[in-house]
């Protein structure tokens, strides 16, 4: 459905995308993860033909981009990072106006509107103004708007950033419904739980390159020890010096917390129980641990 080969994009001297290869199958949900500035949004812009690559090729449903970007965009629905609903229109009018940009007739759009509103859970808000909608409703309407022309593939740029947990779950539910209908989804996010929940496969991007690619479970198994004990409290530095190397398979100190990666968490915990001043959290390792291991813990601003 989506094929990217050797994609490069430079802004001045900064290489934002470096030799990117991607393959997304029909019906798959593919996650693009990476710290800020990793090249996720630029990649999406390249895929849409909104900016021209310096080299490399892109194919969406067999159509070359940017050469035939217009035709390709007929197949794509986009949910941008920042809401850009039309504030001068009501909910229904937003859908009507947007459908016309795809060359649809008013009649053809009108037929789809009830279904789209229903999908977005906005059936009773059809005539509401955009300013009256909550953040979650706006996102759902943006998602419905992306579906107005019944695209085969959806590009979602951080679809749940800034939403409360209830609203996020509603969006996820909608996305799973779309996947069940056979749509293909490409999703950028920096919420690891979101990627773990939705993506069949994902790629972690850093400095414009794919650092690692695979199914979330496989990545966790391949790259990280099965359990993590996070330890903090009075005397953590001494404890780390004396025990970390022997008790943990791998450890890391971030600020005042020790991350102890292990396959035998019980042994670590037994040792910790003898030092009441130390507190700890024991959890299975997750995608975030993989992400931080591969992209580092430095702040990216």
């Amino acid at each position: 459905m989506l094929k990217v080969r050797g994609l490069n994009k430079k802004y001045g001297d900064t290489e934002v995308v470096r030799g990117l290869d991607l393959n997304v199958q029909r019906g798959e949900c593919f996650g693009l993860l990476g710290p800020n500035g990793a090249g996720k949004t630029t990649t999406l812009r390249l895929l849409l033909g909104l900016t021209e690559p310096d080299s490399g090729s892109i194919e969406i449903a067999g159509i070359a981009v940017p050469q035939h970007a217009r035709a390709a965009r007929m197949k794509v629905g986009v949910v941008p990072q920042m809401d850009n609903l039309d504030p001068d229109f009501s909910v229904r009018e937003n859908l009507l106006a947007y459908g016309r940009y795809f060359g649809m007739t008013k009649a053809a759009i009108t037929v789809r509107v009830p279904m789209l509103l229903d999908f977005a859970g906005l059936a009773n808000k059809a005539d509401a103004q955009i300013a009256q909608l909550s953040g979650g409703m706006k996102r759902r309407l943006t998602l419905a708007r992306a579906l107005v022309h019944d695209p085969d593939i959806l590009f979602l740029d951080e679809p749940t950033t800034g939403l409360d947990p209830q609203a996020r779950h509603l969006i996820w539910q909608g996305l799973r419904r779309l996947l069940a209908e056979g749509k293909t989804i490409v999703l950028t996010t920096h919420f690891m739980d979101e990627a773990e929940r939705l993506a069949d496969r994902l790629a972690i991007l850093d400095h414009g390159r794919v650092v690692v690619e695979g199914a979330p479970r496989d990545l966790i198994e391949a790259h990280i020890e099965p359990a993590v004990v996070e330890v903090f409290g009075e005397g953590i530095a001494d404890w780390t010096r004396q025990h970390a190397a022997t008790l943990c398979l791998r450890f890391e100190t971030v600020g005042e917390t020790l991350f102890c990666y292990t396959d035998a968490p019980d042994t670590v915990i037994d040792a910790l129980k003898e030092v009441p001043a130390l507190r700890y959290v024991h959890r299975p390792s997750n995608l975030e641990d993989v992400f931080l291991k591969l992209t580092g813990r430095d702040l990216r601003d």
Partner: protein, 261 residues
């Protein structure tokens, strides 16, 4: 900017953009028309009657007719300029409406052609409203001749719409537009014969005036109001077309650099 400069690829896909703006305007049509009309009308009638009663005929017409002809061009220019500056800027930069449209199978050429034709339509309305006042007050020489003012007004709207889009493309914020009004629009109003004949200016300024688009607009509109065939029609039409088209092409390159890099 040179890298982004190329001939626009025009397509009928600009129509949904025009339509979008029309549908929004329709919701507030009455206040919008009144707002567009009241200001030029007050100036025209206030100065026309007040100042006009003190003045002799100018170029063979009453001062009110003279001013009315200037006001047709002036208010058309203003309507087009305001639309592509403030309103287009809101859609491009503040509301990100253009971004949303560009995710659909639309090019920037389409979006900006939609904006330009919309600005032209709105300014047509504005010019036509002044024309209606000219008819109502009987300030014209030959009614049938005044009908030619309608295409002239559309051309003037196109011209200033295209020019204004350049400012839209380079503006960081609304405040920036003040420069354009202070440095371009206001001098133009004073140099191009809206309120008094260009022949009153010193020779140097007269030759500057001859190059300005509003002069060409007024040179077409004023004779038509008093029922004469304008001189140098081709020159004036070509000048307005060139100003507008060049504006559109340059604005397109600059906006491409701004949005699609």
């Amino acid at each position: 900017m040179i890298k982004h400069l190329r001939l626009p690829r025009l397509s009928w896909r600009f129509i949904p953009v025009w339509q979008r703006n029309y549908l929004v305007w329709k919701k507030l049509a009455i206040p919008s028309i009144l707002g567009n009309l009241a200001d030029p009308m007050l100036y025209m009638l206030g100065l026309g009657f007040g100042l006009g009663s003190l003045l002799p005929d100018i170029e063979g017409m009453s001062y009110l007719s003279f001013l009315a002809a200037g006001t047709v061009a002036y208010s058309t220019m203003n309507a087009a300029t305001f639309e592509v500056l403030y309103s287009s800027f809101s859609r491009m930069h503040v509301q990100r409406t253009w971004d949303a449209i560009l995710n659909a199978p639309m090019t920037l050429d389409d979006v900006m052609l939609g904006e330009l034709t919309w600005a032209t339509s709105k300014s047509l309305l504005s010019g036509a409203a002044i024309l209606a006042v000219i008819w109502g007050l009987g300030l014209f020489g030959n009614f049938w001749m005044t009908l030619w003012i309608i295409p002239v007004v559309a051309l003037v709207g196109f011209c200033f719409g295209g020019m204004g889009l350049v400012m839209n493309a380079v503006s960081p914020s609304y405040d920036f537009f003040l420069y354009y009004f202070t440095l371009v629009i206001t001098p133009m109003v004073l140099l191009c014969g809206v309120f008094f004949p260009v022949s009153q200016l010193p020779p140097l300024l007269q030759s500057v005036s001859a190059w300005l688009p509003l002069t060409h607009a007024i040179d077409l509109a004023r004779p038509l109001v008093i029922g004469r065939v304008p001189g140098n029609i081709t020159l004036h039409v070509v000048a307005l077309v060139i100003y507008g088209s060049l504006g559109y092409i340059i604005a397109l390159a600059l906006t491409r650099r701004r949005l699609l890099k």
